[in-house]
Amino acid sequence: MLRGLASLGIICLIGCSGTRSGGSREATQVNLQGQEVYQRVCAQCHDATDLHLLKDPPRLDGLFRKQTFPSGATASDEELRNVILHGRGIMPPFEQVVDGDEVNALIQYMHTR
């Protein structure tokens, strides 16, 4: 009967951020905020393993280590912002879910993930 078995992803983050050399306190805080937004908004689909959706949401590790996103679009902050705010395919828009600061922090975090 259980359909949504998923890695909630809420236990895997402690100690993952804020240790990069040269990072200011402010930058670390932004990264932590981005990490929190990721866990709250993104992880339940992109880290899940058993969603039964039409298409499996792509894993987002190392998103900016490639030239292109899983969609094939050129990797850029603006493309990521567009997808977050307006959705893509079966991914819903999150423009009414996250505010501008949260999106900025999330994009910054995705560069480090």
Binding site: G4, R40, A48, L54, I90, P92, V98
Partner: protein, 290 residues
């Protein structure tokens, strides 16, 4: 941060998460204090609760509970803030006891749909629906076909709610598309719970995503919205509860098969139905009335 309190993972993730949370717990029963808002109350007496974090049990989530408190269940309504004890037995069985309503002010936000258990032969309102092409249609004009109706909203961020239902409908559509006879005798309708946001262009974009960008699929599957007052009529008839909360829509789920004569043939609450079961019911419905 406001959103932290309002954005919840789904009941079904919660159910799966339960054994992990309680791993190693072998005592027969554990008790946890719950506080949350009632999202829906099913005709069978199940409550769906948008709960706050339950220390030692699970993070804030929306999930369904059976209730072993007849008096409390009788009094509670969607929109109420409640406290209760969550009893977990043997790691895989759980329910609510000692229900108490702490705030009834939220009731006003919730449409007062009388709980309605759908029965075969029930009629449904034939309200005007505007589809993804901006065209007005009525369920009544689909008579002669077995029609599968469900409710979604396109912004729904919870993967085991609307995205799952739409994915299941996509599977059913794909299965029906294998046989021209099935395709001709059946129809799918997804009704938006968010008519102010889900305009025709939004519904079209959403529909195309689930139709793999094949617009011809709209001939078999309509994505529609309706006037808010008519949506309330439909929700009441289809045994559905919904209300807007913090810019999202909390809702129960109802998928209903209308026979070719336009009356209810079968219904499936929630999201645990199997596409194979629904597909078989669709074919059976068309076989009865030719």
């Amino acid at each position: 941060m406001n959103y932290g309190a309002r954005y919840r993972t789904t009941a079904f993730i919660a159910l799966s998460f339960l054994p992990a949370v309680l791993g190693g717990c072998r005592s027969s029963e554990k008790h946890y204090a719950l506080r949350g808002r009632v999202v829906a109350k099913s005709a069978s007496g199940e409550l769906t609760v948008d709960s706050e974090n339950i220390p030692g049990f699970m993070p804030a989530m929306i999930m369904p509970y059976t209730v072993k408190d007849a008096q409390g269940l009788e009094q509670v309504r969607p929109g109420d803030v409640i406290t209760a004890n969550v009893v977990v037995q043997n790691n895989d069985n759980y329910w609510l006891e000692h229900l108490a309503i702490t705030d009834k002010s939220g009731r006003a936000e919730v449409p007062t749909n009388a709980l309605h258990e759908l029965l075969p032969g029930d009629k449904v309102p034939d309200v005007a629906l505007v589809n993804q092409d901006g065209k007005t249609i009525h369920l009544g004009q689909l008579k002669g076909r077995a029609v599968l109706v469900t409710f979604i909203y396109t912004r729904c961020p919870l993967p085991n709610f609307c995205p799952l239902i739409s994915s299941e409908f996509a599977s059913i559509h794909k299965e029906m598309s294998k046989n021209p006879d099935d395709l001709r005798k059946t129809h799918l309708v997804s009704i938006s719970l968010d008519p102010s946001y889900d305009t025709a262009p939004v519904l079209r974009k959403y529909g195309l995503a689930y139709l793999s960008d094949d617009a011809s699929g709209f001939e078999h599957w309509d994505f529609v919205s309706t006037a808010p007052a008519d949506l309330q009529k439909l929700a009441a008839a289809f045994g559905l509860e919904y209300f807007q909360q913090n810019n999202q829509i909390s809702h129960s789920m109802s998928t209903v098969l209308l026979a070719p004569d336009g009356t209810v043939a079968k219904s499936w609450p929630g999201n645990e139905w199997k596409t194979s079961e629904v597909t078989a019911a669709l074919r059976q419905a068309t076989a009865v009335k030719e």
